[in-house]
């Protein structure tokens, strides 16, 4: 019952809108079925399924806004939640930045749903855990991992006539494999919308190979090095930076995208000309909902074109105040790359360092987006196109802005899950990446 059909959802949303006496009303239904399994020390530790469905109602009297949620859908319950939202709105202070709800919109459906992902069962999850653990056990390795799969629907309607309904799926698998003596560690991650392409048997081999190959790591003096960042490693820094692609903070002078003297850097060359980033809800591998949180329709939009900043995110209030068109917030980030794999990039590297994963990344200086963090689970020295030996992990202090000006070559983009919108990020070879200290951590 957590996943409603479009007709079921619309019936409830229409009732809510009709019940409201406020100046405007927006209602949203979100239903999810989340399945997960967690394992560590070559044993399953927890597994579960969490189903949930919520109705959120937001109403406004003038610029006074109130919101309430409920998880029952009888007529009496719907009346209660609308009344509660209206009571809260009447007591709320006026929000000077209030924007009226959007009017009727046309949304082009995107392919966010995969039947294969929605069909994952507890038995499938147990099998994935078993297929992760068994090969590790046989080679005296220790696996710890997590699989989370999700199917959901979201539907919203407002009193100005906007309505949207769509179903989505996602699965995210990560596994850390360590050697028994704790001197080697490898990792693999796979984030997919369509689970039918997931192959645990080949993925677990990646983590196992890295665990075994990373034993007895050697120390290399910290400094500036040519690095090959695998997509997940690069994504850690790049996703952080895109959190600050916000027009308001740039216009207010508190962003790396603020211009000295006022204004923002839209139209300015900020990155290497090979950097091209866009958002597209219809992207085949990383589709996003066709509307954003405000109900604005998402379209393909260029964010960085040939290294030039083309678009920043505008809230509806800020766009209105600045006389800009209303544009939806992006639902994904796609960084274009080339055609080469990480292995191809390694083969063509005379000297450098391969980084599997970046970890515990934090902002050091928002003025320059200087980030610090560490390498983890497979760092290797490359010489004459080959992985020569494993390296001790490094701490880096690097800005993704500087990093994306020091590009040597971009490989083929792959889908990466992160703590935000899904992304397509290429592996990349980057010059002068700044490692500032060594870590003994494995």
């Amino acid at each position: 019952m957590s996943i409603m059909t479009e007709a079921e959802a619309k019936t409830i949303l229409d009732k809510v809108i009709a019940l409201s006496t406020a100046d405007e009303c927006t209602a949203q239904l979100d239903g999810t079925i989340d399945g997960n399994i967690r394992f560590a020390l070559n044993n399953v530790s927890t597994s579960g399924v969490i189903s949930n469905i919520d109705l959120g109602v937001q109403v406004a009297f003038g610029k006074r806004v109130g919101a309430a949620t409920i998880n029952e859908f009888s007529d009496a319950a719907l009346a209660r939640v609308v009344k509660r939202a209206e009571d809260l709105a009447k007591l709320a202070p006026e929000n000077p930045e209030f924007m009226p709800a959007v009017g009727p919109q046309t949304y082009r459906a995107t392919n966010t749903f995969s039947a294969a992902t929605a069909a994952i069962t507890p038995e499938n999850r147990a099998e994935i855990a078993r297929a992760s653990i068994a090969p590790c056990k046989s080679q005296n390795l220790i696996a710890a991992g997590f699989l989370n799969d999700n199917q959901s629907f979201t539907a919203f309607a407002n009193s100005n006539g906007a309505f949207g309904y769509q179903r989505s799926t996602e699965m995210d698998y990560t596994c850390t494999v360590r050697t028994e003596d704790g001197t080697g560690s490898g990792w693999v991650a796979r984030n997919l919308q369509d689970a039918s392409t997931f192959n645990v048997d080949s993925d677990i081999q990646i983590a196992m190979r890295k665990a075994s190959a990373s034993r007895d790591a050697q120390a290399l003096e910290p400094g500036k090095y040519t690095v090959i960042l695998e997509p997940a490693a690069a994504a850690g820094l790049i996703s952080f930076m895109f959190n600050f692609f916000d027009a308001r903070s740039a216009d207010e002078g508190r962003s790396f995208l603020s211009k000295a003297g006022g204004g923002n850097k839209i139209g300015e060359q900020v990155f290497d000309p090979r950097v091209n980033v866009y958002s597209d809800p219809g992207h085949a591998e990383t589709p996003a909902l066709p509307w954003d949180g405000d109900g604005l329709p998402r379209e393909r939009v260029n964010i960085v074109e040939n290294g030039v900043v083309r678009n920043l995110g505008y809230s509806r209030y800020w766009a209105d105040k600045q006389g800009k068109p209303q544009m939806a917030q992006p639902g994904n980030i796609i960084m274009e790359g080339g055609s080469k794999s990480t292995s191809d990039l390694v083969r063509e590297t005379e000297r450098g360092i391969l980084v599997t994963r970046t970890w515990y990344i934090r902002m050091v200086d928002p003025q320059t987006v200087l980030l610090t963090g560490l390498t983890r689970d497979g760092t290797f020295y490359i010489e004459n196109g080959e992985l020569k030996y494993p390296l001790k992990n490094f701490r880096f202090n690097e800005s993704p802005v500087i990093m994306l000006n020091n590009i040597d070559e971009l490989g083929r983009s792959v889908r990466v899950g992160d703590d935000g919108p899904t992304m397509m990020i290429p592996p990349m070879r980057v010059r002068d990446f700044t490692f500032t200290s060594l870590s003994d951590a494995v």
Partner: protein
């Protein structure tokens, strides 16, 4: 911190409905002061306990929880968001055939709780089939029907919203009048009404309160494009609204009057004015020369260093490898406890506790019914113990749990979470100003800044909010672009002086994330100002060209 939840709570997330990213339904302000009748909770708990026993469980605990949160979020003269949420339901955990099982329901009827208990027992029996070692639960005596409440003087949930809005908008106006270009201020209030019952014979009713009043003040030099922010110097606390009284006896002024620090209460308006002035100073402050310095770390900074380099590596589940795929493992392996590893210098004594009044972790009983206590982790610089729950302590040869089990909701499984981990004050009389007067070439660091540490907790880098140069025993000028890098054992072994109890204050972490799926917890870290010798400081200034 669980960043996504935090951003969503601040209204910085996806936009749309003004709902927070935490589980819960939005409720009216008046409902924040309601409680559930204890007889109702006992009836639900007994239904769960009986059903689990009948289904074949050898142990059962039932947690009936009502979790309340209020967020008031402002910037400059605007209230951006006010949200009240409630999450209510029951979680049942059992042991059957030697394995754990868990199920939860938001249906507050005896039948639904009994059904959850039966489901949990079935899950436990299914899990038992692949279990290699049966769960060993350390004995915990039943305590009968007892209750406990965070010792607060003013329930923040009872304070009218208008008073909170007036406070924050007053704080913002004071910062703007003092020269700020922007100011964000918030109130985060939490009340956990938790009822725990177990087949050991405990019925424990607890009413837990927490408060946090974060603030960020930003100044801009538009000509150069330079900007700097100064965060508030408050700490999240296990206190009521009285924390915001800003009492004179809770203020501590540094030697040259550069900084006022706060203890058991906080003057937010005063700090906002100081923040605007200090943020402006940062624009022109001297950029630090990299090199080795003696660091004097204020408690509102050192708390985070303790959290990352002592609190996390001494969690037994991390040490054993249960968190290997996410938070990581630990360098402080079991053999280091056996050999009494020299974690720090001889003056370093770090203890875990769940009892300090005003701390975020303070409760009378943990989430598996264990009476809380204080215990040593590092004694005279040596590693002596870890933090462990009922099903782990046997690994350490102990017969009683440390009492540090916690779940962030009725719907999540309790597991080992960090207790308050604190540094004992020095035994010799020494004030913060005494300490600074003995430093020839150093940096005094206050407040939280960027923090990052590796997955085994060896290599860390910390920034801060405020940095002051110390030359020949005097604070001479503010510094900028400071971060220090450390290796945990060397850092704690470089500890050369700790101020006495008069300087002891608490730092807090409101959203500490752990586990998959991730859960948050809140924890405090007390210390007095502490000196570390010859620590590597880097300069973090960069140019984007």
């Amino acid at each position: 911190m669980d960043r996504r939840s935090f951003l969503a709570a601040c209204g910085i997330g996806a936009g749309g409905l003004l709902l927070p990213g935490f589980a819960g339904r939005a409720i009216a302000e008046s409902q924040l002061v309601e409680t559930i009748d204890i007889a109702v909770k006992k009836r639900l708990a007994d239904a769960g306990l009986s059903a689990a026993s009948a289904a074949g469980a050898s142990y059962c605990d039932v947690r009936v929880g009502r979790y309340l949160r209020q967020f008031v979020i402002t910037r400059e003269a605007n209230v951006q968001n006010i949200v009240n949420t409630e999450s209510i339901g029951t979680g049942v955990r059992v042991i059957a055939d030697g394995a754990w099982g868990f199920a939860a329901t938001n249906d507050m009827t005896a039948e639904a709780v009994a059904e959850a208990a039966r489901l949990a027992t079935a899950i436990a029996k299914a899990n038992a089939r692949n279990q290699t070692q049966p769960v060993q639960l350390a004995p915990t005596p039943g305590v009968g029907e007892v209750s406990w409440k965070t010792p607060i003087r003013r329930n923040a949930m009872e304070v009218p919203i208008a008073e909170k809005v007036e406070l924050l908008l007053g704080v913002n106006a004071a910062a703007m009048a003092a020269g700020a270009n922007f100011v964000n201020s918030q109130l985060f209030l939490v009340n956990e009404q938790k009822y725990f019952a177990s087949s050991d014979g405990s019925y424990i009713d607890q009413d837990v309160h927490r408060i946090w009043a974060p603030m960020s003040v930003t100044v801009i030099d538009q000509t150069s494009g330079k900007f700097r922010s100064r965060q508030g110097l408050s700490a999240p606390m296990g206190l009521g609204y009285e924390y915001l009284e800003g009492r004179a006896e809770d203020k501590l002024e540094s030697a040259n009057g550069a900084v006022i620090s706060y203890g058991m209460s906080y003057d937010m308006r005063e700090d906002a004015v100081a923040a605007a002035r200090q943020a402006r100073e940062k624009l022109t402050a001297k950029s630090v020369e990299p090199g080795q310095y003696d660091l004097v770390l204020d408690p509102d900074h050192l708390g985070l260093t303790i959290h990352e380099s002592v609190g996390h590596p001494l969690e037994l589940d991390r040490v054993l490898g249960y968190e290997a795929n996410y938070a990581g493992t630990s360098f402080a392996t079991l053999d280091k406890r056996e050999s009494r590893f020299q974690y720090g210098s001889e003056i370093v004594n770090l203890f875990a506790d769940k009892t300090q009044p005003g701390s975020l972790g303070a409760v009378e009983y943990d989430d598996e019914g264990v009476k809380t206590k204080q215990w040593d982790l590092i004694k005279d610089g040596k590693l002596v113990d870890y933090q462990a729950t009922r099903d782990q302590v046997h690994i350490l040869g102990k017969t009683a749990s440390d009492g540090c089990s916690y779940a962030d909701s009725w719907s999540t499984v309790q597991f080992q979470r960090m207790a308050n981990v604190s540094l004992k004050p020095g035994t010799q009389p020494m004030t913060r100003n005494d300490m600074i007067s003995n430093v020839e070439n150093g940096i005094y660091i206050l407040g939280r800044g960027s923090f990052s540490i590796d997955q085994q907790r060896y290599n860390a880098q910390f920034g801060g909010t405020l940095f002051y140069e110390i030359k020949n025993g005097e604070i001479t000028q503010p510094l900028e672009d400071v971060a220090y890098q450390m290796r945990t054992p060397e850092f704690w072994n470089a500890c050369s002086a700790i101020c006495d109890e008069s300087d002891y204050r608490m730092f807090g972490s409101f959203f500490d994330g752990k586990g998959q799926p991730s859960q948050v917890s809140a924890v405090s870290h007390g210390s007095s100002s502490t000196r570390f010798d010859k620590i590597n400081v880097i300069n973090t200034a960069r140019s984007l060209g």
